[in-house]
């Protein structure tokens, strides 16, 4: 088996040619029942595998939750386990089943398949579809419709539709759009939306970091990547002390600084003396507040949302929380709000924290008049703020970004010789440079060596000449922990030979014999 895509805890595995997971088995061809109560029958997924015995006498509330045979792990009752409990169990899926067993959830409804695939289930079956078919219901995009017209062979029609539905799930994983499919199925399905709600922190903690665009809606406030960004903002510090907080609106173009409106803001502000003491933070939904240095970081440059100009109560609450995480009372002397439709809300929120704030009261922030007002207010506000030079500012920016990205392991970058300026030229000596692909500081090989000394995740590969990417078959062992999408260091013979982006989970690299384990960015 070869992992070719991940999203959340779900995986797109290639088992054989034309056979991928998530996969659906059909009861009349692929499942064989057992002859006695103590064995589990067989399942055909390409090859025929033994199923573990059914969970006689066991309490589904207690671990171990999975029934295991040599190649298959079964999560019984996945369709009915209480949503919160199901998420708790999902957290244990891979520690119980490992990565080389296929995880099978018997008798689930098609509408629950996307969320279960998102949580790591590999195999589904058509048992419930068969039952529905026997009562005359037609399957259509995971939903059931009571048919009016006679369909000749409803059973085979529904089986074909189920195959299409699974194909759609697989397709969604390979395009990084599984979350969207799950959100769609959750809309009018209380069970799926409960599972989705409870799984946010699990996905944040253990889910693959897929850098695909988030096409936001109200549900996105709970998107793991969004929550992760919001949580990490509390470790963030602005470039320097005593700066002036400037709150600007977000833009459709990402990163914001590339948008025409933000270019106009910048052009207007650069004429003001000491404009480096202004710290630009954009206000947006569903992310909340995005400081300029973090605009590259996923998902700040990878989302899209319908702009209505209306802020819901939950969004305002989210903005309030994010503002508190930014800790303006500690970091800023004053604030300017120049954020169009969100100005009033942001001004009030800043005021709540007891900071001196000026609202430019401009409806169209990037209009000529708006820019002039912004310029004047900035000039007045900055007149009594200490001067900040380019070098100190760049240092502070690098520090803020490094801390945000690397957390406790960021010291090696902060203490390096920082040069250049935001956005593209900022570097940490010869250790790291800005990279839109990584979404922040991308490590160089030398940076990789330092990172490995700072407890960064290290993968030990077999001894061979590493050219191109590292494949799972070449992985010997690993140290530390990571999620898919994070940077890792590759060592061979105790020497760092490459750095790159992880494409598999730690244990998965050891369990798999095929597939890219690390997408290498720099070789020795």
């Amino acid at each position: 088996m070869e992992p070719i895509g991940h999203e959340g805890l779900g995986r797109l595995l290639k088992l054989e040619d034309n056979l991928q997971t998530p996969h659906v088995v059909f009861s009349h061809t692929d499942l064989e029942e057992s002859n006695d109560l103590e064995s589990g029958g067989t399942i055909k997924v390409g090859k025929v595998f033994d199923l573990p015995p059914s969970p006689l006498g066991l309490d589904s509330d207690k671990s171990p939750y999975l029934q295991l045979s040599e190649n298959i792990a079964v999560i019984d009752n996945a369709y009915s386990i209480q949503p919160k409990k199901l998420v708790e169990i999902a957290a244990e899926f891979r520690s119980e089943a490992g990565y080389s067993r296929l995880l099978y959830a018997p008798a689930v409804e098609p509408s629950q398949m996307p969320i279960l695939a998102y949580l790591g289930v590999d195999i589904f079956d058509d048992l419930n579809v068969e039952l529905r078919s026997s009562t005359g219901w037609v399957l259509e995009s995971g939903e059931w419709i009571k048919h009016n017209k006679q369909i000749d062979d409803l059973f085979s029609h529904n089986r074909a539709e189920l195959n299409r539905w699974i194909l759609r799930i697989r397709n969604a994983i390979s395009n990084g759009k599984l979350r969207e499919l799950v959100e769609i199925t959750s809309l009018h399905n209380p069970r799926v939306s409960q599972i989705l709600h409870h799984s946010a922190s699990l996905l944040m903690e253990k889910g693959a970091r897929v850098h695909s665009t988030i096409r936001s809606n109200d549900l996105s406030l709970n998107h793991p990547a969004i929550l992760d960004f919001q949580t990490r903002l509390s470790n963030y510090e602005p470039p320097a002390k005593n700066m002036v907080l400037l709150i600007l609106p977000c833009s459709a173009r990402k990163p914001y600084f590339k948008s025409s409106s933000h270019k106009r803001f910048f052009n207007a502000l650069r004429e003001v003396d000491n404009h480096l003491a202004l710290h630009v933070v954009s206000v947006t939904s569903p992310l909340g507040l995005v400081p300029r240095e973090l605009e590259f970081c996923y998902p700040a440059a990878h989302y899209d949302i319908a702009v209505t100009g209306k802020w819901s109560a939950s969004e305002i609450e989210m903005l309030r929380n994010q503002l508190i995480k930014l800790n303006p009372t500690k970091h800023y002397v004053k604030a300017i709000v120049h954020a169009g439709s969100s100005s009033k809300i942001m001004t009030e929120l800043v005021k709540e924290l007891g900071i001196e704030v000026v609202d430019t009261r401009v409806d169209r922030p990037s209009s000529y008049e708006g820019l002039e007002i912004l310029q004047n207010i900035a000039r007045m506000t900055l007149s009594d703020v200490p001067l900040l030079n380019t070098k100190d500012r760049a240092k502070g920016e690098a520090k803020g970004l490094a801390n945000f990205q690397y957390g406790d392991n960021a010291d090696f970058l902060i203490n390096s010789e920082i040069s250049g300026r935001m956005p593209y030229k900022l570097r940490c000596g010869d250790l790291a440079a800005m990279s839109p692909v990584v979404g922040g500081f991308g490590l160089t090989l030398k940076g990789g060596i330092e990172y490995s000394l700072q407890n960064g995740p290290v993968i030990t590969a077999e001894n061979f000449k590493l050219v191109g990417d590292l494949f799972a078959v070449g992985v010997k062992s690993y140290k530390g922990n990571w999620n898919i999408g994070e940077q890792v260091v590759i060592k061979q013979n105790d020497v760092v030979t490459a750095v790159g982006i992880a494409k598999m989970f730690p244990e998965e690299m050891l369990a798999m014999n095929r597939g890219v384990a690390v997408e290498v960015r720099h070789h020795a």
């Binding site: 057992s34 109560l37 006689l56 309490d59 589904s60 079964v74 039952l131 026997s134």
Partner: protein, 350 residues
């Protein structure tokens, strides 16, 4: 005894709760029903006396049995038992057939003192009752426990539940050895009692098909040793493993079609096999769709009383039951989707 299967033992104990307080001088229930005695239909008096309850349920208990809910853990004094007896006598008066239940074993002397039992037996004999049905675990079926001075003909009902040791251990949690069971059946019959076997239909964890097969096989196995067999579809009783599984939607009560199927397949057995489903037609008992529940229950009653054979029964839901039975062993438990029995018609009944 086979070694206990620990996870289920724990599960049974955790599902139980302490019975609430009950008045000691009142029986649990009393009613009359139609029964067959010597080939003719008679009215039988049925009473359930409140006692300390089944010793096994105090120790562990069976996964489907909630009768401990009706018991008094501290025990019921002889005086109170006599009070209860006074209250049930009118129900039994004039009947030829009596069924005296406790929520345990009538011939367990630590549950129902022998002297009291002896008294009521001779009382019933004086009332003209010809036959009395009592229930017991196999371990108490010892001639000295039912050596009454004067009693109607005794019929001892013994819960076999299943002849499959795996089902007994991992589904029912009953420590019953087949060889011992056969021995006590013989012992009872040798000492002038008739034996009635209880066989469960669809104990927890079993799928509809596995349940049917298990019940049929158990009936075939036990037929040579007993005088009649009652197929008992499992119903959902309070504070049991079954109730927990049912709440979690991991198990559903059997279909009445399954009851019919089992009875049909047992037609050729040398003993009478019948079923009187407890809670039949309700969500907690054996049921089909709400269109045919009444009809099938009526047919089962007629079959039980020997009035009519189980033939020509039909309903739209039978094809659903067919579809379920065909795949049920693949589902790995006794569950089915909500509303399936009524064809997902969104009915308020199920």
């Amino acid at each position: 005894m086979p070694e206990a299967f620990v996870p289920l033992t724990d599960f049974v104990n955790e599902s139980k709760s302490i019975p609430r307080d009950h008045p000691l001088d009142k029986p649990v229930a009393k009613w009359t029903e139609e029964e067959v005695l010597n080939g003719e239909i008679v009215e039988a008096g049925v009473v359930i006396l409140r006692t300390r309850g089944c010793y096994w349920s105090i120790k562990e208990g069976c996964s489907m049995c909630g009768y401990f809910n009706d018991t008094v853990p501290g025990g019921v004094s002889d005086d109170m038992l006599r009070e209860q007896w006074k209250k049930v006598r009118p129900t039994l008066k004039g009947k030829k057939y009596a069924k005296i239940y406790t929520s345990g074993s009538f011939i367990d002397p630590t549950e129902v003192p022998f002297d009291f039992a002896d008294e009521v037996m001779s009382d019933m004999s004086d009332m003209g009752i010809e036959k009395v049905l009592i229930e017991s675990l196999p371990e108490f079926v010892n001639p000295k426990n039912f050596a009454y001075a004067n009693s109607p003909k005794l019929e001892i009902a013994i819960g076999l539940e299943s002849s499959n040791p795996i089902v007994l251990d991992k589904s029912v949690n009953k420590r019953l050895r087949w060889s011992h069971y056969v021995k006590v059946c013989k012992l009872a019959r040798d000492n002038g009692a008739e034996v009635k076997a209880y066989i469960l239909l669809k104990p927890p964890y079993l799928s509809e098909k596995e349940a049917i097969e298990d019940a049929v096989q158990s009936a075939i196995d036990t037929a040579p040793y007993v005088d009649k067999i009652s197929i008992n579809p499992v119903n959902v009783q309070k504070n049991t493993v079954v109730e927990k599984l049912w709440f979690r939607n991991e198990w559903a009560a059997p279909w009445l079609w399954s009851v019919v199927e089992v009875l049909k397949r047992c037609e050729d057995l040398p003993v009478r096999v019948y079923s009187d489903p407890t809670g039949g037609g309700t969500r907690r008992g054996a049921h089909n769709c709400h269109d045919c529940n009444k009809k099938i229950l009526e047919a089962l009653k007629n079959h039980r009383l020997g009035l009519k054979e189980l033939k020509g029964l039909h309903c739209e839901c039978k094809s659903r039951w067919d579809a379920l039975v065909k795949q049920s062993a693949l589902r790995r438990n006794g569950s089915e989707p909500h509303g399936f029995r009524s064809g997902f018609a969104g009915s308020r009944h199920f």
